[in-house]
């Protein structure tokens, strides 16, 4: 097992909801990154989690910036640090809305320019900060405050979009697998260029499950195969252990859906769509992992 440092960079005074996946993920991200790190945070739940000025619950410098601006801001910061001969890690920590919707242009630009930074998207599949409206990352069938009848469109495949930029490193992770996340952050930061980690963030108030179930919900996401843990490095795909197991013997997707209020009353058609999207993604990744693509 990887030794996880005892140092805490996120203090126990956050204003996060109980069972918050965002602060859980960030805790391990910062443990892996260490003190020579600057976080760039666009508008999202993490803007709130840090606490209110002049206090801060984070023990690394955090640059909060406008919703659409994180990747571009990090570009400038990274260039300035490198110009000054500093190795400081620049990490964007952004929500799904700030990544797949409003921030996608800046993200694409930064990756095209091979900016030396790590972009982490914690994906709670909605706009949490503003009270759980749909985002491009909300899955089909999920109820949000702007899709009260269930979302009619599929979740945007941001990983494929980022992969098309040929980044130095791309991985998915999940709040329920902190060891795996820790390792991936460490690996990403050891590489130069643009790195992307997409972390599933089961969010109790947003997904409507009880707050002690965050880890359980994340595990169900991986075990049902709706969320696949994998890495993509110089074109090579590696599917990680828990997802390999899930591909052989998945738990029923219904186990994952039924525990969440947001999927209450979901239509069979939406369930079928979710299943077929998950199957296709798995097939595609398996082929890539086997080098058949």
């Amino acid at each position: 097992m990887t030794e996880i440092p005892k140092e805490e960079y996120i203090l126990k005074c956050t204003s996060a909801c109980a069972g918050c996946p965002s602060s859980l993920i960030l805790r391990y991200v910062l443990k892996a990154a260490g003190p020579d790190t600057v976080l760039v945070v666009p508008a999202c739940c993490t803007s709130v989690i840090q606490g209110i000025y002049p206090n801060t619950a984070l023990n690394v410098p955090v640059y909060n910036v406008a919703f659409a601006a994180a990747a571009a801001c990090a570009s400038g910061m990274s260039e300035a640090f490198r110009k000054a001969g500093k190795k400081t890690s620049v990490i964007v920590y952004a929500g799904d809305g700030g990544t797949v919707d409003i921030g996608i242009q800046a993200l694409s630009g930064a990756f095209e320019r091979e900016t030396d930074f790590l972009y982490i998207c914690y994906d709670n599949e909605a706009y949490g900060n503003t009270g759980m409206q749909r985002s491009g990352s909300t899955p089909v069938g999920a109820r949000t405050t702007t899709t009260p009848g269930g979302k009619t469109h599929a979740k945007k495949d941001i990983d494929a979009i980022v992969a098309a930029h040929n980044p130095s490193y791309l991985a998915t992770a999940c709040a329920a697998y902190p060891q795996d996340l820790f390792k991936k952050v460490g690996k990403a930061l050891s590489l130069r260029g643009s790195k992307f980690i997409h972390v599933l963030a089961p969010c109790p108030p947003g997904w409507r499950f009880s707050s002690e179930m965050t880890v359980e919900m994340g595990k169900l996401a991986v075990k049902s195969g709706i969320w696949i843990l994998y890495e993509r490095e110089s074109g090579k795909v590696t599917i990680n252990g828990p997802s390999k197991a899930a591909m052989i013997k998945p738990v029923p997707l219904e186990d994952y859906l039924s525990g969440q209020g947001r999927f209450k009353g979901i239509s069979q058609k939406a369930i079928d769509a979710l299943k077929s999207q998950a199957e296709q993604r798995a097939k595609h990744l398996q082929k890539e992992a086997e080098g058949i693509c």
């Binding site: 209110i52 000025y53 023990n59 601006a69 571009a72 242009q105 800046a106």
Partner: protein, 370 residues
Amino acid sequence: MLTIATGNKAVAAAVKEVRPEVIAAYPITPQTEIVEQIAEYVTSGELDSRYIPVESEHSAMAACIGASITGARTFTATSSHGLAYMHEMVNWAAGARLPIVMANVNRALGPGWNVWAEHTDSFQERDTGWLQVYVSTVQEAYDTALMAFRIAEHKDVLLPVMVNLDGFVLSHSMQSLETVTPGDFVPPLHLPHAIDVTNPAGYGTLTGPDEHFKFRWEIEQAMRKSVRVIADTERDFAERFGRQYGVAEEYRYEDADVVVIAMGTLGKEAEVAVDLLRNEGVKAGSLRVRWLRPFPELDLSGRDIVVIDRDYSFGFGGVLAHSLMAKSRIEPYSVIAGLGGQEVTFDDIAGFVRDRTPGSETWFGVKGNV
């Protein structure tokens, strides 16, 4: 060294002298020449900067912000739609007290597409906390760009500065230019609140009303202090390099009964109109307002005033005219002219003076307006 250059090239040449560590920009007519020239400098090694060819103006300012907060000197340039697209980050830069310098080549906003001079683009940013200066010649563009870095980075200011030059009429006009070796005229930047990983801080965290209010007041205090910093910088520049402009440049102003007030190239054109009127026996003078923010305190009492606005605030009036009405308590003849590059000659300006009706507004060239 004496050369000839366009307004755009003059700005680029000034930027080369002060060596920003990071430059991020996105092209737009009529600013393109600035970013192209800087790219040439960086590629040829004449300028040792990190040049980030971003994918939008919003990102250009975001990248400058990210670089600036590490303590790096930064520069960008834009115009019209680019500036409008950047608006959110323009606010952010000032709020974050970052001494970013930006050249804005003044151009009208669409629709329809119009690439010619108008001041509405930058006037729309006047409440963001940026210092704004408007220039009228190639030499002034160069000199002012140099001064902008020193003013922005001064410890009593630490606010971004926008250097505005009129699209085409100045950006693309060839005039003589004397370049200088600034030496320690622009000292190294020391940003007191630069990111320091050994002393972690939260920047731009959630801020309650009391703290927000305090930060706004600090911006206003810095704005007020910048008046003296601008004056000191101009004085030192004059001592070293022999040129001085002032917050507003006077022309045959002392004994003038009627004064034309304008900004940018129209302010220069007004000087020719003044000569013409003087030959006719009219005691005319002109005043070219350079700094829009901080807005100058001008004593205009006892004179007839004609204000030319190359901008408009719909449902309100010419912004310069109304600013002067409020600040200097005058009742000017307000002329709206030159929008979208409309040609305004010295003859036209002399006409404004001859036909003036104090207290009224007119749109130049529009028949039957009041």
